[in-house]
Subunit: 471 residues, 3 copies
Amino acid sequence: MTNPLNLHPDRLFPAAPAARDIARRLYNDIKNLPIVSPHGHTDPQWFAANQNFSNPAELLIKPDHYVFRMLYSQGIRLESIGLKNKEGAPSETDARKIWQIFADHYYLFRGTPSQMWMDYVLHEVFGVTHQLCNQTANTIYDSINEQLATDAFKPRALFERFNIELLATTESPLDNLAHHQTILDSGWTGRVITAFRPDPVVDPEFEGFSQNIDKLAELTGEDVSTFNGYLKALANRREYFKRYGATSTDHGHPSALTADLSQSEKENLYLLARSGEISAQEAELFRGQMLTEMAAMSLDDGLVIQIHPGCYRNHNQQIFAQFGRDKGADLPLATEYVHNLKPLLDKFGNNPDLTIILFTLDETSYSRELAPLAGHYPALKLGPAWWFHDSPEGMRRYRQQITETAGFYNTVGFNDDTRAFLSIPARHDVARRMDCGFLAELVADHRLSENDAHELAVDLTYNLVKKAYKL
Amino acid sequence: MTNPLNLHPDRLFPAAPAARDIARRLYNDIKNLPIVSPHGHTDPQWFAANQNFSNPAELLIKPDHYVFRMLYSQGIRLESIGLKNKEGAPSETDARKIWQIFADHYYLFRGTPSQMWMDYVLHEVFGVTHQLCNQTANTIYDSINEQLATDAFKPRALFERFNIELLATTESPLDNLAHHQTILDSGWTGRVITAFRPDPVVDPEFEGFSQNIDKLAELTGEDVSTFNGYLKALANRREYFKRYGATSTDHGHPSALTADLSQSEKENLYLLARSGEISAQEAELFRGQMLTEMAAMSLDDGLVIQIHPGCYRNHNQQIFAQFGRDKGADLPLATEYVHNLKPLLDKFGNNPDLTIILFTLDETSYSRELAPLAGHYPALKLGPAWWFHDSPEGMRRYRQQITETAGFYNTVGFNDDTRAFLSIPARHDVARRMDCGFLAELVADHRLSENDAHELAVDLTYNLVKKAYKL
Amino acid sequence: MTNPLNLHPDRLFPAAPAARDIARRLYNDIKNLPIVSPHGHTDPQWFAANQNFSNPAELLIKPDHYVFRMLYSQGIRLESIGLKNKEGAPSETDARKIWQIFADHYYLFRGTPSQMWMDYVLHEVFGVTHQLCNQTANTIYDSINEQLATDAFKPRALFERFNIELLATTESPLDNLAHHQTILDSGWTGRVITAFRPDPVVDPEFEGFSQNIDKLAELTGEDVSTFNGYLKALANRREYFKRYGATSTDHGHPSALTADLSQSEKENLYLLARSGEISAQEAELFRGQMLTEMAAMSLDDGLVIQIHPGCYRNHNQQIFAQFGRDKGADLPLATEYVHNLKPLLDKFGNNPDLTIILFTLDETSYSRELAPLAGHYPALKLGPAWWFHDSPEGMRRYRQQITETAGFYNTVGFNDDTRAFLSIPARHDVARRMDCGFLAELVADHRLSENDAHELAVDLTYNLVKKAYKL
């Protein structure tokens, strides 16, 4: 027996009738506002080439680490869902078989945001009317496959159908942004911008760090033998990114450590980093110093800084050796902000012209550190609930633990932060519903007037993100 | 004036009427499923000898550290409720007086799970119809006392009345399991199995560690002068425990540290531990290494591993000196998993044939570390909310913080983990109600279909525990 | 367009109708109980001199660090709201202009307790009928200003109107308590007592520590060249404070570290502290030792100990240099209790004659450390949700995470802990409503009888605070 797939119009709204009614009214106001996506990891090549996506597995499973981490946790080998094992074990190439495995195990995702997102994509994007399960897998595969081959499902058509006002991708300073150039040259009006993610050239522990800097020198013509030359090369590259619409930088460090070293300390640390002889602790210090350098550059060129700290990348050494990065084996760490950010804040924290957007994977920092920091320092704002916490309960905890100290106006709206292009509307819809639900509860509890809640719903959905990211 | 004691049929269900109705339907499905209790601390002697319990104080107060920690916190001396002070202060021996003290202070337990469990025991097991208080203490004492003397209240009769399908006790490797042998020999069909808790022989800081290992040598005939001989003795003892039904081991370490040392490092550390000259840090490392050794043995003999880390045992030195272990003076500690488990996970984490069940007393690890770990590594599963968190709010936080990342299928159902035999049905009932309530809220919010919720309710109550513990 | 300002009679009560009805009944019982305020920072001079307050900005904005931290976070300079910059930048002196800036940015406080408190003050104390905003700022300013000039708005009249039974201020041991003397001499029946906050003379890192001790010697006539003489001076000063009603001491340390050093270690550390040559780590140890000394004195003189640990004071060095202490730049830190309190608890923790009230800014300690500690040690009680967590969601988390392990009777009622005199009734009202709402949910979930809830509502509002603080 197969079950119908419905998206209930009240999904995620509070259960108490009075609050639910308010949530409906608030959501009705904002549900059709355009999507502004200031931070994410979609592939600009899609919008440059505008070719049809190949098949459901390639589009919906293979790029989604939320999906294969769960499957893997239950003993399903990554090869069996088509991931390439570099050490040579053969991997499944039949997309229909991969889709079937996913469908057979779709029950594992009950109660997870992955199921909400996928159901939304199936129902809203592809018109699927029955729940995905072992019996419906084939029919649904065929239906998606047929639609993917049509013009209406080309990347640009979907971008427009999704009502996306702006979409930021994320690139390395070493990227030539050729796809962005193709988009600009094409005359297409869709706004796809880049963002500057310098980890490969500011993190001494990144694969190929020193060679990356050599490549940076080539691209910029700067002499990177000195720290100042290296900084010039970075500043040059930031300008290049701005030509492709970049309004922000992004930094994925293991901790939130910042530093403010003397000129000679900085020089020495840079040379050590380049030599490859740098210790783990010195590498951490160098990354911390580079956050401060980036802030200094931001005061010149206006780029907004995003810090995404506290992730243990590639924790599973076997998976990393066989399948590489971003395979669902990244893990959150306890993350300290009050001491770690002090050097940067002492230098630039009081400057309201600077915008530093902080993220966390450690929810304990919401009420203890992040809200108190953002509720005081003019330069700090708080990014939305991130990654593992980009979920209904995660968003609820975020608002409940942030708002009373930082208010709403030290937050910056929603980030979908995704590689999964088709899930973008689904993710924004979850965020909008959760925000409306949260506001509705404040109104129902008589902590907020409904007038104010309507204004806030628009701010949280649309105005704050445009202001914070200077879009 | 005395107040009636009722157990409302809707207790613990969500307040919103729509969700409450769903919770009722879900609970109705599963409320009569048999109890599977894979981890706990009841005394096997009860089921071996099958003698009547002596009196209400002996049965319901003196073994319950939840009860006397609260009484003690409010200035009631442990001697006054009958605990023996080893340093000689006389202790109360009149069970009726002890019961009266408990009743006089029963208001202290308002809002705690102890009150819910005790009310359930009083009402459901003993038919008590009025709230316990100073005025009702005597009548209730008499009523319980009379019933305890009857055949219907013998341990095996209660086991059957409670609809217990299986109950695991926990024993030291040095235990000869004579009570389990008696149970097996008796022809009684009740299934009482053991579990292997090697702390006394793997923790160098355990009282009598080196003598314990000598005893281990005697029991097994192995030469424990070398690390390999010691491991053989442990493997031998695990086999012995399997004969008495054991399907799991259990490890109560101060942290979740694991290690993967070289053969010579292991040898040296073992000799150091045996010498009694081991430092606190080395002892920690030895325990960590032993978790990895246990995992290796589990791959041979199939035993499931339970890790219960992060408890500061016997924090109150005066209480420990006077009354010994397990007197309500154990305290949770912040517990790190991502770094600490890595050596073990690097070695065995990708093996789906291994099952390691993680517990925590540090709720901050739920969303930050445990759910991300269990939602990736095939060998890891998450135990239920433990000890201080085995409570309605604790269970709610557990599901809210675990589910979105790890799903339901990386969890293992409920553990009652109790010494208080009579409270077992009460505890399972609380867990079942909270799970049904949580599922009902997902259904009411349209995050889960009611069909799926019914299937999940059975899985969370019955199927997952049997699968995870191989029962 | 301006919006009406209403305080809904059901504000903060649960949304589900059954629970809401119970909350109303509970609140109705306790809403008129007198206010007992055992810990706060109002200025005793107000009640001594009983002069009219000068204007709305001086009264409602300039003393409220919750208000100016939020304004500052959004780029509003502290000078522009009248704070004096010691480095010389001119500050706004026109109170009406300051009020206008506040009103223009009042939307920033949406969803924060500041807005709830301010709305209460505006509506209940001053009869304001429209929301504060840029358009209503002037009218509201005039209305408040007029009323402030009347007899009914003098400090003592407000104290009586607010139904305050007792109000504790907080003073340094170096304070001569002249204002308290004036109050006593005046014949006014309002009970304003002091509390003993020895940070300036027990924290070697406090500004002017050694000179402060010299002053202590002068005040007491004790020879402070030895540690024992210093202790005698402190004991002497505690006696002095008791004459002015003090029943408690208060300690604001960066961590919860305690120590129990030998006599010679204590002596040496004291001499080092006095010499000014003490390291940060030794200063921490000295403070920790002094907590243990204070506990010893409390066993003599009966004063209750409050520990407010875990705050990074004056984090923003620029703001500290320009504006001094208490300007909204204090930040919570992760705070450990289990290890840190052990030396003190080993010595005095089992003594039910001692009362130590613990506070935290680190909510992760509620269920992990504080509730288990207070639910065991007779000397420990838990203070209410503090500072950043003195808010509806903060209070809800406090009860949800504390109650199941520590119960209600190891807590001590509410502290308003405020400098903002007019907000005292507002703050107590929020606490009473949240407690009634929490109890109502327990009743609605059938975890608590409504009879017990009524008794608890009175205990949480009135009885527990009087008992814990010996009032």
